[in-house]
């Protein structure tokens, strides 16, 4: 199968994720959309890996998954902490660190 199809799917998923990150206000959904973007990247990596016939891309994909899992751990931890303190769960409201 032509690699173009894989990349097309990957781009579609990536854009969906990116659009989600940019438009949604709930941190949980933003985290989900981030996962989508990372998976899109993983898909492209694996497709390229298959095309060249070596396993490097697959290893990278696994590492990305690990990193994503770690990220989500921290992200979810933060979200739960904010929720516990009854703060509004809205990324636009949480901007005390601006310059």
């Amino acid at each position: 199968m032509n690699i173009g199809w894989y990349l097309a799917v990957s781009a579609l998923v990536f854009c969906t994720g990116a659009a989600g990150v940019l438009t949604r206000r709930s941190p949980l959904v933003i985290l989900l959309c981030l996962e989508l973007m990372l998976n899109a990247a993983n898909l492209a990596l694996i497709a390229f890996s298959r095309m060249w016939g070596n396993g490097d891309g697959q290893i990278f994909a696994i590492i990305v998954m690990v990193v994503a899992a770690c990220e989500v751990c921290i992200g979810l931890g933060l979200v739960v902490a904010i929720f516990r303190r009854r703060l509004p769960i809205d990324v636009d409201e949480m901007r005390e660190l601006h310059g």
Binding site: V21, L22, R95, G99
Partner: protein, 671 residues
């Protein structure tokens, strides 16, 4: 002991004295600092004599010894060594410096005993002599500059010794600034010479003097004129002389030290030391002779009208140094150094006698208020007369022989040097007049209150502390002769110092009496043996006889004039003369307006420049454009970046995406 070892030890003694007095100022009590300082100098004198005797023991060719303690720095061919040159010239200077300084220390021992800064005074005094010895013993330009700058620093410390007096501190600053100008001249001149000789060593440079003169004549002349700037600043020659009369603010022994043995003779020594170079550049040597002669006459005219006792002697020093500078620049090396030596004797004597008068007056220095001290102070009077006779060049006193020797050489050189010859005799007449004006005004006539008190054995004390320079009442006792102060007349050590100098001033001339003795000539021979100028100056007997007669006549005539004006009457003739030519009198009283001229040419423009820098340049350009501009740029940039930092998470993400998109687009377009 070899001559160089003795010279090193002579150098070490005053340094040790400085260190002991400086560190032990809390523990040394009473007269002990004076004992330490004087003993250090006496030891230095003993070592100088040993060096002299040992050097005489060496053969004619082995009288230029260089001894190096260690290499300070060796860069390429430049050798900055801590080394001294022991030859007849430096040994002569060593003897004069340590000998006269020892006597001045003995004098200070009593004179300063009532002063609170007794220890500090001796520490400074020892440091001064150490610096001067370093200067005269230096074997290379490097050490010469070090000694040169040390002497300037020491003079600053001593002139502003009474640091609570504004007049004294400003005089110290003036001396220091002018001396630094001289230091700059000396250093730059050294660079010019170093550029062509490639070595800092004196003997190495002199060996190449002829080649430098032939290949780089312009540079050599420029370098030597810069060296002359240094010499003029130290030796108080026009136009760098204005600090010297102001330096009279220091204690009297300091004046004696600056004027007789150290400081002002440095310029004469420098030119004599550099004679192989000066002989290669006639222009530079002529500058020296002319400035010397001009200073000689100008200072003598000012000496005729100044009413401050110490300032009269100060102008006299300037004038006498003019003789020496003229001599050593004009090829009369031995004569110049001879005059340096005799001048050290009689000028130190005059200052000591003046100090005696001043302490009897309770610190007052004005001739207008002194009269009739002849009976009250016979010893001081005798010293003053001997010094005065030597200064005015009356035979057989020492000043007679040394001054006439200089003028003889000038006359023998012929040509335009005749102008200097005539100027020299003109100034000799004025010298006799102003010297005896001083003596007649202070010692003749109706005794003043202070003199009458002293005749009855009491010492006069001013009712309250005042600054003798401007009469200001002072709230401290700094520089004020307290109840325990002495008159040199009545104090043993001071009397010994004055007596010794009086003998030296009388008989000092014997070392070089024309046609009779040639001791100084033969002694200095090894230093000046390579001189090309000296052999060309032929001694003519007729000129010698004329010189001796004219010198004697002028000296006696000057004394007679002074006696007619100030001895017989109370100076009415002088007042009448002043009224006849008021313009000339104003010119002399205002010191030929040199202070004003320098103020107008140098101080004012520099002051204006400084104010412009501070008020206009700094405020507008530095604070406005440089500092304000830079911070403005940073502030504007940060404001733009701050606006981006909104805190909206999704805006950051969008920026990230856009950025990544741009990067990817760039790579796509590249491939």
């Amino acid at each position: 002991m070899s001559p160089t070892t003795a010279a090193w030890l002579a150098l070490a003694c005053p340094l040790a004295g400085t260190i002991v007095n400086a560190l032990g100022f809390r523990t040394l009590k009473g007269r002990l600092p004076g004992v330490v300082g004087t003993a250090a100098l006496a030891a230095a004198f003993v070592f100088a004599v040993i060096a002299f005797v040992q050097l005489q023991g060496n053969g004619e060719e082995h009288r230029q010894l260089v001894s190096s303690l260690y290499d300070y720095a060796v860069v390429g061919t430049i050798d900055a060594k801590l080394s001294i040159l022991v030859d007849p010239l430096s040994v002569l200077m060593m003897l004069v410096v340590t000998g006269v300084s020892t006597l001045i220390h003995v004098y200070s021992f009593g004179y300063m005993s009532g002063d609170r800064g007794y220890t500090r005074f001796f520490a400074y005094l020892n440091f001064f002599v150490f610096s001067m010895l370093l200067l005269v013993l230096a074997a290379n330009f490097f050490l010469l500059i070090v000694g040169w700058a040390f002497v300037g620093a020491a003079s600053y410390l001593l002139i502003s010794f009474w640091y609570r007096r504004t007049t004294a501190t400003s005089a110290g600053i003036k001396a220091f600034v002018i001396n630094v100008v001289g230091d700059i001249g000396l250093t730059l001149g050294t660079f010019f010479i170093l550029k062509h000789s490639g070595t800092l060593d004196f003997l190495g440079t002199f060996a190449q003097a002829k080649e430098i003169g032939a290949t780089a004549h312009g540079d050599l002349t420029a370098g030597l004129i810069l060296l002359l700037v240094g010499a003029f600043a130290k030796s108080a020659q026009i136009p760098f002389h204005t600090w010297l009369p102001d330096a009279m603010e220091g204690p009297t022994p300091v004046s004696a030290l600056i004027h007789a043995a150290t400081m002002v003779t440095a310029g004469v020594y420098l030119i004599a030391r550099m004679h192989p170079l000066f002989e290669q550049s006639v222009a530079a040597a002529d500058v020296g002779t002319i400035i010397g002669a001009v200073t000689l006459v100008v200072a003598a005219t000012i000496g005729l009208v100044v009413t401050d006792l110490k300032r009269v002697i100060a102008y006299s020093t300037m004038s006498q140094i003019g003789y020496m500078i003229m001599a050593v620049s004009g090829g009369a090396y031995v004569a110049g150094l001879f005059h340096l030596m005799t001048h050290a004797f009689f000028k130190a004597l005059l200052f000591m006698a003046a100090g005696s008068l001043i302490s009897a007056m309770g610190g007052d220095q004005s001739l207008d208020r002194m009269r009739g001290f002849r009976k009250a102070m016979p010893f001081t009077f005798a010293c003053f007369v001997i010094g005065g006779l030597a200064l005015s060049g009356v035979p057989p006193f020492s000043g007679f022989f040394s001054k006439d020797e200089i003028l003889l050489v000038m006359g023998e050189r012929g040509g335009w040097h005749w102008v200097l010859y005539v100027a020299g005799y003109l100034a000799a007449l004025m010298t006799a007049v102003y010297t005896w004006r001083m003596i007649f005004r202070a010692f003749w006539g109706e005794p003043v209150e202070q003199a009458r008190e002293l005749e009855h054995g009491h010492l006069w004390h001013a009712p309250q502390p005042t600054n003798p320079a401007n009469g200001e009442v002072e709230d401290t006792d700094v520089g004020f002769p307290g109840p325990e102060h002495h008159v040199a007349e009545q104090s043993g050590p001071m009397k010994i110092a004055m007596g010794t100098l009086a003998i030296l001033a009388t008989v000092g001339g014997v070392v070089l009496i024309p046609k009779v003795t040639t001791w100084l000539d033969t002694f200095l021979e090894p230093t000046f043996k390579d001189s090309t100028l000296t052999p060309t100056i032929q001694g003519s007997d007729s000129l010698l006889v004329i010189g001796l007669i004219v010198g004697t006549v002028l000296g006696v005539l000057g004394i007679a004039i002074a006696y007619r004006i100030w001895g017989m009457t109370n100076g009415e003739i002088a007042v009448a003369a002043r009224e006849r030519v008021p313009a000339l009198h104003r010119l002399f009283v205002n010191k030929w307006y040199f202070d004003e001229l320098i103020g107008w040419l140098v101080v004012k423009p520099l002051g204006w420049f400084g104010r412009f820098g501070q008020q206009t340049f700094e405020r507008v350009f530095v604070n406005g454009t440089l500092v304000g501009g830079t911070s403005g740029v940073v502030r504007a940039g940060s404001a733009a970046v701050r606006a981006l930092q909104s805190g909206f998470l999704r805006a950051y993400a969008a920026l990230l995406l856009v950025g990544a998109g741009v990067v990817i687009l760039y790579f796509l377009l590249q491939s």
